[in-house]
Amino acid sequence: MVNLNVNIDKLKLKNPIMTASGTFGYGPEFDDFIHVDDLGGIVVKGTTGKHREGNPYPRMAETPMGMLNAVGLQNVGVDHFISDIYPQIKDYNTNVLVNVSGSTIDEYLEVAEKINALEKIPGIELNISCPNVKEGGMAFGTSCPSAQAVVEEVRKVYKKTLIVKLSPNVTDVTEIARVVTEAGADALSLINTLLGMAIDAEKQSPILSTVTGGLSGPAVKPVALRMVWQVANAVDVPLIGMGGIRNATDVIEFMLAGATAVEIGTANFVDPQVTVKCIDGIKAYMQRHGVDDVNELIGALRK
């Protein structure tokens, strides 16, 4: 038997496979396809203080080996999440994390404080990297002073595991990583989507209603791997890697680069069972390489 357990701060994961916010609904959307309990954890949709309608249609454009989205944090809002959704998902036997989003520090604080009171939510992922809303989101995650401020404030009200999700849309990801770690992040997750754009040449117009959107899927994987590796060399907190993961080999690559766990996003749309297939694939890889404990792979890149 190989050991797949990993720890992210106080969170105990039965394996390194988690799902990425905004690509897995709240979990029940996948109940027909997999046992959500088999996963190391899930991160639910970005949740804000008030209900948000998000951006107008069209919100999606497929690009080579990837997709652009401009959902714009459509979500039910934290109060509705607590009253209607939390009761449906609190008994999943896995780590259910909430992706906390906002436009102002006060909004992040409101959501974090309310989620802190939920017994069955052991951690939050602070989204300071959403490229699809006008105010806040990525604006917080792309400058050191604002990233530091929001993480410091949230740290004061949030007592459980605080994961901060980093934006790739920066000149030097390690600077932000250092700042938010010093401000109190227990772990970091990366990367959020890369700002991109798609044009319909026939109509000579942008495809997305917002013109620009966030790129995800296999196309971003090399960028994501590079950033995980850079951040792993810059800070000491555990990392959750993501960006374009489709199979167990991709997972192993992220772990070798320094990730303790991974989140799978866009690939869930193509194969709703991809997460459990990755778990099986990791076991097979470990057996093939004579690795007994998956933790041995973390940051084990040979140079």
Binding site: G22, G25, E29, D32, P56, M60, Q74, V270
Partner: protein
Amino acid sequence: MKQIIDFTVVSNKTLNHEHFVLELKPDKPLPEISAGQFVEVRVDGSENTMLRRPISVHDVDYDKNILSLFIKKVGEGTRHLSELTEGDNLNLILPLGNGFTIPDSSNVLLVGGGCGVAPMLYLARKIAEKGLRPFILLGGKTKTDISGIAAYQAFGKVAITTEDGSEGEKGFVSDHPWMKQETPDFKLLYACGPEPMMKAVNDFGKKHEIDTEVSLEHTMACGFGACLTCVVDTTKGHQLTCKDGPVFNTKELKW
């Protein structure tokens, strides 16, 4: 329950330069499918078609355990599907979405234009299974856009319009006498096709206070409510084409 099922291509019928019908056989019995529901087809073998393609259920033959899809070639994914031959494999997620209301009266009108005829055959079959005979109006640019009429005739009263007059009445579906009646007796209208066509059917329904159900084709990444990209503006705010639709009563849409 939504399932992921492997299918084998039984036949691929070319109807004309852009439309084709795929007949698919699953490796287990087909699940219960409502008229108006759709499938998400995985298109392998091209780096530009990572995401699945949403396609309406055209017909289901439970005796033979065969599902058919009516598809229009518009880009790389649908072109790839048009090249499949007998024995090829295809992976589908199904059944997805809500479906049309099945009426209690024969006085309903089904209108399909272009590849919007796709869901109408199975809808007609489901209505006919209740012992009813609906009115079915099929529109195309030219004669070759309309095919397999006999299948529809088995389930209802069929009329055709073509823009060039090469088959049936000349003009758009909205030029057909059924849609020119002063006091139509229809209890419900159904439309699928290009948006101007669906809007014309809706205008007819509005004028005579008849409810209209339309099937929308908004672009989507997943098809089962996770990506939130296929939103439709409705009286209840943003709703999802894949989960709350693809069939909407036009009263809910801001049409």
